[in-house]
Homo-oligomer: 137 residues x 4
């Protein structure tokens, strides 16, 4: 499953180069995976309510072109891998007006209890694990 | 007591006007009150460990001149009022190179338990209440 | 004219109290005035392209209740005053699910050239001045 | 040359997991390279004044442990490669109290004119190119 969602660039997200400051694309990745989960049928909020956190363990981002203030950007999110203890998302950020690819990257996550212990999602939240497994295919 | 501390403007804090985005001064206010508490002898971290939160209930800020990337700025913080249930800070942001006043404002706070109930600081954290009372004079 | 727009709280906007960090409401004010201008028929981008900046000279915000991660919030924006050299916006942030008022405040702006000189909007961008005047009524 | 600088975690940088939100480490990388340049004898501000921008073309970050509010963190920065048209930094973020490695990663940059054209640093800013070449060894 690919989830897409659209955001509009905030003035606050620009920097003095006149373009979006580079870490904001990675904040948009967070919006992307939130929407991927919602569109799969689960929500990240539910997951946290069940006591499971999804901290980022790795991130990478490659920048191709710049978003500018007030641009609408499409965040496209897919799951690259989903194992009992980890999951990895892939994102592309596209300018809506012309479809140009602006940035792309990955985040990797482990499943953690609120006490900071690694947990298998299948054990901690079996229904959500099932939903994610099906949507990841 | 007046507490002063110095920060250096991050590129991330600028916007496409080429100056610091306006809400960052209010983030610097947060640094100011953290340092005021530290210099008084308490810390905000201790306060939270005792179960007391200090959420912002009001903020105002007046902008006089702009900070720019890499500028060093001085945050000057004083307590304007301290009552059993509330406290109010006053801040001034000055450019270090020439002492120019860039922005000034206030934040007001109540004392809250982690469950979201209003609490008297004197009751919840009497030692810290004492320290703040003395340093506020 | 009242302009409304909806945002969804990002994880990045929360803090360790488990609620939205207070300056983010003021970033949402920026989204509010961007949308007010768009709905009036002008855009802030056009204004900047005509060489007119709208820096914030004053901000205040009063916090009533907290937004949380993934909440949808409505930003309602109106113009409180519009004079040849200045304008003032009023904002309310409401939780979408129950309409509860979370925060409200103002920003004041002057009209500035890119060289930092105060300018009358009527002179620098007469068509946009006309649009704003009509929509402010 | 290795440049080190220390920052203190802001409340604003935490999220509802009670730890620093992951993109902030990458903002700290920016502080790291700013300080590396300063300690080498150049400054990024000078570079921009000479018309050269250093946009990020790639970033990666690996997270090992979490920084928390009010922690002091050391940013250690080195240059991994410096070619006529590109440069790559390597960063480590360490907790000051016990030296624990919290995160590490890289940023890659090209040299760009303000008009967005790729430029050789040696040509656009020969003195700074010389300083960077010597400090990179």
């Amino acid at each position: 499953m690919e989830a897409t969602t659209t955001i509009r660039v905030r003035y606050q997200e620009t920097d003095q180069m006149g373009i979006v400051y580079h870490t904001n694309y990675i904040v948009w990745f967070e919006i992307g995976r939130t929407e991927w989960l919602r569109q799969s049928g689960a929500t990240y909020k539910e997951l946290e309510n069940l006591g499971v956190l999804l901290p980022v363990t790795n991130v990478d981002c490659k920048y191709h072109a710049s978003a500018r203030y007030d641009d609408e950007c499409i965040i496209s999110t897919t799951v690259e891998s989903f194992t009992p203890a980890r999951m990895k998302f892939f994102y592309q950020i596209l300018r809506k007006s012309d479809g140009k690819l602006l940035a792309e990257g990955h985040t990797e996550h482990c499943f953690l209890t609120k006490e900071g212990k690694i947990v298998r999602l299948q054990k901690a939240a079996p229904q959500i694990a099932q939903i994610i497994a099906e949507s990841s295919m």
